[in-house]
Amino acid sequence: MPRTLTINGQEISARSDQTILEAARDARIPIPVLCHLDGLTDVGACRMCLVEVAGSNKLLPACTTRVQEGMEVRTDTERLRAYRRQIIELLFAERNHVCAVCVANGHCELQNLGIEVGMEHVRYDYLFPKLGVDLSHERFGMDHNRCILCTRCVRACDQLEGAHTIDVMGRGAKSLIIHDMNVPWGESITCTSCGKCVMACPTGALFKQGSTVAEMVHDAEKLAFLKAARERKVWNV
């Protein structure tokens, strides 16, 4: 059954099983996302897509909230913009995001969002944790210093490849992406070397070894293509 709602004052209609994010995209209203990736389930973790809904005293993630009849959604208020800027600042301060020397420079979703939300400087202490770079895999590499723990690689490996090689260990700020039981990637016995995790990564944390900055394109759309092909036998080429 169709639902009618307004986003930023614009009246739109959507299917009842659609999320606010999907409805907004159909109406070409941009909402910034980071942990969302087409083809993967949503976890609502990055909080970039939070929107204001009239009548709710809580901000709601557009990626996991379904549309409702008569919903009045605001996606771009001053308050939301300020929060998004702060979240990006927190990410830049958390690990070592030095764009100038990063392989993903120019193809990085974190970098793009930083520009989009108008983050000019970071007001928080840079934590600069000393994290490792895992180059044990013959084709791929993982630089934990550039990881934002969005878990897109975890979900891609589990939901699309089905190997569940990747998961998260520890908790809080000490969380870390691991392969199997925290072994070097190259020694993982479950990894199929399919590279879907690398496609899913929004930053330079997962990369193809030996690729130059210009070649480092993530190909994230491939995952949505693959999901549609596998599950619905639809090839959107």
């Binding site: 569940h164 990747i166 998961d167 260990m169 520890g170 908790r171 199997d180 039981m181 016995i189 479950t190």
Partner: protein, 193 residues
Amino acid sequence: MISTITKTMTSTPTAPGRPTGNGAVAATPSDRLAGDKRYKIIEATMRRYGYQGHGLIEALHSAQEAFGYLDDFTLKHISRTLHLPPSKVFGVATFYNLFTLKPQGAHTCVVCLGTACYIKGAREVLAAIEGEYDVKAGGTTRDSQLSLLTARCFGSCALAPVITFDGETIGKVTPTAVAQQIAQRLAAVQQAR
């Protein structure tokens, strides 16, 4: 690829243990499982949950209790028996504070850092123990006799500040007397042996 996985992930090598350089016989995984009765306890826990994934945390509790910590071998064994990805088992084992991946000392002293204890001087108590035994919270003394841990509240706030020694609650401790209280108990256990 599949053959590699089967080879490395199943625990059914039938060959007897190979002799190692120093003449000892290295146990194969199946030897280790058969030879250590503690695995039977873990097995019983997993059976109780029908060898299903939702029994993971209970299985880890059993293993932690039986061995005092969770080593790679045990985690792999649980992962295989419950048919769970190794990364998931490792992720769960490292999420919860009560699971440890390293062996603990022969005795454990836990200092409560809950609010009531904290405002009644638990930090000074902790510092006193750290100083006396030259060990940091979370660590074990060099002679492996004592592990010093901290907790978030035992719910014995009326006795604040509280520590436990091998599970025994000791209430209303002071920075000046606490080291001696621990020393007495350590001596008592050693004498009993």
